[in-house]
Amino acid sequence: MATSIYKKLVSLSNVFYNEGLEKASVRDLTGAMESLHQSLKLDKNNINARNLLGLIYYETGEVVAALSEWVISKNLKPDDNIADEYMDMVRNSPSKLEDINQTIKKFNIALNYCHQDSLDLAVIQLKKVLSLNAGFIKAHLLLALLYLKAGNWDRAKVEAKKVLKLDTGNTLARRYLKEADSMLLPGESGKLVSDIASSENDEVIRYNSGNEMIIQPLKKSALTRTGSIWGIVLGIALGVAASFFLILPQRIETITADNKDKIARISEESDNKSAKIVELEQKMASMDKNMQELQGQVDSYEGVDSTSASMNSLMKAVDCYENDSSDIEGIAAALENVDLEVIKDSVSPEFLALYDTLMSKVGPQLATSYYNTGYDAYKAKKFDEAIANLSKAYQYDNTNVNTLYYLANSYSENGDLEKAKEKYDAVVTEFPNTKTAAAAETKLAEINNSGN
């Protein structure tokens, strides 16, 4: 009887083992563990069940529990036991074993933090644990619980889902997931915030704050849609007003200052140019004066031959005298433009000697001829002609006081009082103690009195 009971227990243990194996194959690790525990309660020598239980412990991050199952398994069945391979796998990578041990210690520290109400520190520790061993289900669950406690429903839901991905039958994870769902987005149960965020929904504003996505309902007023155009118009109007009241005066001031500078510069340039103009005008006046003086000199030379021309004229006059010594008119015509007073400094002594010789021969006749013509012109009140002829007459014969006196009278009558005074003075000086000199003095006195 005892044997049959034992066989029944072994058989029942195998049934639970099979059930556990089936659950493990669909990653229902919690269910598999329960079945395998049942199996081992019925038959502690069910090596397969114990080894599988060790594997499941290992998968959930409970490495020490896994190792203890495998050690017991090895003790119960020393030979031909797959637990050897599992333990060798762990033993052959000591660094990994150390990492696992550190993971477990950190989890225990995090749990202590939870009991001490240091939940933030616990969260940090658990994140470290999961970065080392992402398959540590208890750590995921504790982190999910802490997120629920902190009101981070979204994150709690993520953690619970991770657990259910590792262990589909984890009832604690399902509870946390349900709790998060009930708190998160009522009416949209089963949807992650990220799912909502990624969906096309224009009624919310989304933005990231650190690692968190903030979804804020869009506030819409009655004016929001229709008022947008008015808002733009108002904005433009305000912009124009701002530019008018703020920017424009500044701009105008700048332009005015620039213009003032320009005006000052132009004014300065204008002053300089005015000064230059005045200077140039002065120069021009000076040059005009010089020009007039030169013109006067030129005028004085007008009708007078140059030195070479005078020589030719003299030669012509001499030739005329040689041909006909009585041809006074021809000699006078030849000497018409020879003015010895002008050219005497530039001609040779020979020229002067020849001229004097010719004058000694025909001078008086020439003088008489010119005097007669000039006197007739004087009488006829043709003073210009009189001046020209009397001047020539005095040039050829300077001993005739009448020639000089009528020349002076002609100048006086013609309005050239300076010349008249000069000639009257010459009469007084060169022919003193004559009646003509006395008359000249009277004329001089008259001119001087009229001048005062």
Binding site: I5, L9, K44, V64, I72, L97, K149
Partner: protein
């Protein structure tokens, strides 16, 4: 609404490698057959006691 304190009680510290030896030695490995054997032993000893008292 979850009760955080109650939920926290469900989490036990994980077993560390340094404690593995103690855990293995102190492990209660009794299964159903051991229980039945114990029961049978108890039943047998009780029967023996009854016979002696008669």
């Amino acid at each position: 609404m979850l009760n955080f304190e109650e939920e926290l009680k469900k989490f036990k510290p994980s077993l560390e490698i340094e404690d593995a030896e103690d855990i293995i030695y102190n492990r209660d490995l009794d299964d159903m057959s051991d229980v039945i054997v114990g029961l049978l032993k108890d039943a047998k000893s009780e029967a023996d006691n009854n016979k002696r008292s008669r």
